[in-house]
């Protein structure tokens, strides 16, 4: 292994940026093949660079690598460098972003082949890759924030890709605005860090915390809570999760890449990155854990009744992100990142497979209009099956290892909170299995519930912008199936790098991340708790039981007794309606937050301040000066002798003042 020049790290984010520039500026004039070629090249090379980087780290036993010490912002008290840093956590994130990103780029080439604005799509996608890679590579909070905002921008552009559709444009705006609320928290956290540490670089901030063991709570809690707000916005946690389900208006590959595998995990990455701060604040950790658990069960319960295939997956993503938050909250950062990794594989797979189903049905997204697709699109079926079993947590599949690690570590969390959160997590695991198998059965089994030859009937009503090809159900082309197969293999095997000791593995993944999370108190606590492997095995069995139960319940309702589900929904009408309406959260937000703000904006700020004070003020000033001008212009008669008269009068007054002025001043 030749020693790697750290400067090559710069190419990882810059290549996709170059792709964005080429496709964004020239794409309109390029052929579709050229656009695809540019986009794929600019995402494939970073994959190779990341592999090389990983090999270098292993070969040279590196702990971290930084590059670029160019001063970006310099003031007397604050110095911010334009620097990138790589450590083991970054390597995992890089692998996810570049690897899954590349696969989704390939898939998109097939999926978007018939779309208008093909070049625009790939330009945005490459822009997203650039910002996401900046986010994970950054060596300080400010550069991370640049990436953070940038992925938000790319997400906005891609959600609103079909911008002629009102709902898509609104969904894009919603995502952007809700994220702004989170960004506000992130900004406050950065200001607090500047105030207390005088620096924004990871190294300096964490070192200062490390050197001050007496620091606990206090302003660290404030910083941590502000960061949680930021993370909740980006990672779609309660109370800011509402934008993610709407984000499904974007093309399906976008949902897979941005709203499942990468961008939404930025919040988890950030919390894990800042674990030094969170470890010092029990309150903030508890908040993270509770938010995570609540989001997990809340979103899972909504997901159980959704009928749009992509929305089920969207709520599932929110729920799984809740798991990751929960893991962070109980201090199991490496478990969170492990779940992030496996989730990226199986959720990207599920989304892409769902896209393949939608593609096969020429734009149909409602699962009530699917069914019996098992033999029609076999590759999609088998790959999706791998994804479904992985997310449900069946033994051996990747989701099993990561989810079990989280549940085990939650259970081991000291105090009653651990057990309660574990129970919530377990219930969520059951729900997850239920809604995933519900999706599986509704889509692939049972009777066929759609017209076989949609021909042009769907052309007007298709939801995902999929052009109706007019030749019935068809398996997707290989360019779409190949990424599915790769992701399916990863979904099955991806968890094997983190098999816990209790199951005879060596938990390689946790050791890989150990340098980053060294000094994490909770980890040592679990290790010294010495509960042995029996407990871990028992918990694993319980969660497998939950998954199997989910499978059996879904099997009963959606395969053996297809009408039972409707009957149950009818008998539990109140609950069912609450779930279908997503607990009316959107409506409550609209009434409680959006409407008052809109009213305030329209009546107070627009009519009152803008038109009244600002508009009225300027009009009054204009009227006053016009009036004064009207009076004064009479002096400017154009009569030269009257000018001379004014001149003489002025001179006379000056003269009088010089002579009598002194006396006048005395009198006054």
């Amino acid at each position: 292994m030749t020693p790697m020049s750290p400067h090559l790290i710069w190419f990882i984010p810059l290549l996709p940026f170059a792709g964005f520039l080429v496709n964004g500026l020239l794409g309109r004039r390029l052929t579709r093949n050229a656009v695809t070629g540019v986009a794929l090249f600019c995402t494939a090379l970073p994959v190779a660079l990341v592999l090389w980087l990983t090999a270098t780290f292993r070969a040279e036993h590196l702990l971290s690598l930084t590059t670029g010490h160019h001063i970006w912002i310099q003031t007397s008290s604050l110095q911010i460098a334009f620097a990138l840093a790589v450590d083991h956590l970054t390597l995992v994130m890089l692998a996810v972003v570049t690897g899954v990103g590349f696969l989704i780029h390939i898939y998109s080439a097939g999926y978007m082949a018939h779309e208008e604005g093909f070049w625009r799509f790939f330009a945005y996608l490459n822009l997203f890759m650039f910002f996401m890679l900046t986010l994970v590579l950054s060596a300080n909070f400010l550069l991370l924030f640049v990436g953070w905002e940038g992925v938000g921008l790319a997400s906005y552009l891609l959600i609103g890709f079909y911008f002629t559709k009102d709902s898509a444009a609104n969904a894009g705006k919603k995502a952007f605005i809700v994220n702004r609320i989170g960004d506000f928290g992130f900004l406050l956290a950065m200001f607090l860090m500047i105030a207390h540490f005088g620096s924004l670089s990871f190294g300096s901030v964490f070192a200062q915390i490390g050197m001050a063991p007496q620091l606990h709570g206090g302003f660290l809690t404030a910083i941590a809570l502000c960061l949680v707000l930021g993370a909740a916005g980006k990672s779609a946690q309660i109370p800011l999760y509402i934008w993610l389900p709407d984000a499904m208006e974007g093309p399906t590959p976008v949902s897979a890449l941005i709203h499942a595998a990468t961008m939404v995990t930025a919040g988890i990455y950030m919390v894990a990155r800042c674990h030094a701060i969170f470890d010092r604040s029990a309150l903030a950790l508890a908040v993270v854990a509770i938010i995570g658990a609540l989001t997990a069960i809340f979103a899972a319960s909504i997901g159980m009744v959704q009928t749009d295939i992509k929305r089920v997956l969207a709520y599932s993503t929110v729920s799984q992100l809740g798991y990751m938050f929960l893991a962070c909250g109980v201090g199991a950062y490496s478990a969170a990142i492990f779940h992030l990794l496996t989730h990226a594989f199986f959720k990207a797979l599920l989304f892409l497979a769902a896209g393949s189903v939608i593609h096969a049905l020429s734009g149909e997204q409602d699962m009530r209009n699917m069914g019996g697709l098992r033999h029609r699109i076999p590759v999609t079926f088998w790959t999706m099956t791998a994804g479904v079993f992985a997310i449900a947590g069946f033994p051996g599949f990747s989701g099993f290892f990561s989810k079990d690690e989280i549940l085990y570590r939650t259970f081991m969390h000291p105090g009653a909170m651990g057990v309660v959160l574990w129970a919530v997590g377990l219930l969520t695991a059951f729900m997850t299995a239920f809604y995933m198998f519900r999706l599986w059965y509704l889509t692939f089994f049972g009777a066929q519930r759609f017209e076989d030859h949609p021909a042009h009937a769907h052309e007007a009503g298709h939801d995902d912008g999929q052009a109706a090809h007019g030749h019935g159900v068809h398996e997707s082309p290989w360019i779409m199936l190949a990424p599915l197969v790769v992701l399916a293999i990863l979904s099955v095997c991806g968890g094997w790098i983190g098999i816990p000791f209790a199951l005879g593995g060596n938990n390689y993944f946790e050791h890989f991340l150990a340098p980053v999370f060294a000094g994490n108190v909770s980890r040592q606590m679990v290790e010294t708790a010495g509960t042995g492997h029996g407990m871990e095995l028992l918990l694993a069995c319980v969660s497998v039981l939950a998954a199997v139960l989910g499978l059996l319940v879904a099997d009963y309702f959606y395969r053996r007794r297809p009408d039972a589900a409707a009957k149950l929904a009818l008998s539990l009408r109140g609950l069912h309606s609450t779930l279908v309406h997503k607990y009316w959260v959107d409506e409550i937000y609209a009434k409680v937050i959006v409407m008052p703000l809109l009213m305030l904006g329209r009546y107070v700020l627009f009519y009152g301040v803008d038109l009244g004070v600002i508009g009225g003020g300027t009009s009054a000033a204009a009227a006053a000066s016009r009036g004064a001008g009207g009076l004064l212009r009479r002096m400017q008669s154009g009569n030269i002798r009257s000018y001379a008269g004014w001149l003489a009068a002025g001179a006379a007054i000056l003269l009088a003042f010089t002579i009598f002025g002194r006396g006048l001043l005395h009198i006054l």
């Binding site: 212009r633 154009g638 009569n639 030269i640 002798r641 001379a644 008269g645 003489a648």
Partner: protein, 100 residues
């Protein structure tokens, strides 16, 4: 020896005549003449004071004023001729095209 007050009173009278005719007259040339009258009234006070104090500064000042007045007369008369050629009038009240 004539007291200084006489000179000053004469200068004041001349200046007032100059100002007065400047304000009433419409003919540009008359206005021009009144300006000359005011300048010379001032010159008179300069000379009077210079004589009173036995100081030459005032007298030198008068030369400067005369030079400037001559230059001004040259330019001013040129302008007056130009106006007369284009407008065929010498009344200042009718030279008001710059007014709105």
């Amino acid at each position: 020896m004539v007291p200084i007050a006489y000179y000053l009173v004469l200068a004041a009278v001349l200046f007032s005549i100059g100002v007065g005719s400047f304000l009433i007259k419409r003919n540009v040339i008359t206005i021009f003449m009144s300006i000359e009258l005011m300048l010379n009234a001032v010159n008179l006070t300069f000379v009077a004071f210079a004589h009173m104090w036995g100081n030459l500064n005032g007298q030198i000042f008068v030369f400067f004023v005369m030079v400037v007045a001559a230059a001004e007369a040259a330019v001013g008369l040129a302008i007056i001729i130009a106006i007369f050629r284009t407008r065929e009038t010498l009344s200042v009240d009718q030279v008001n095209l710059l007014k709105l």
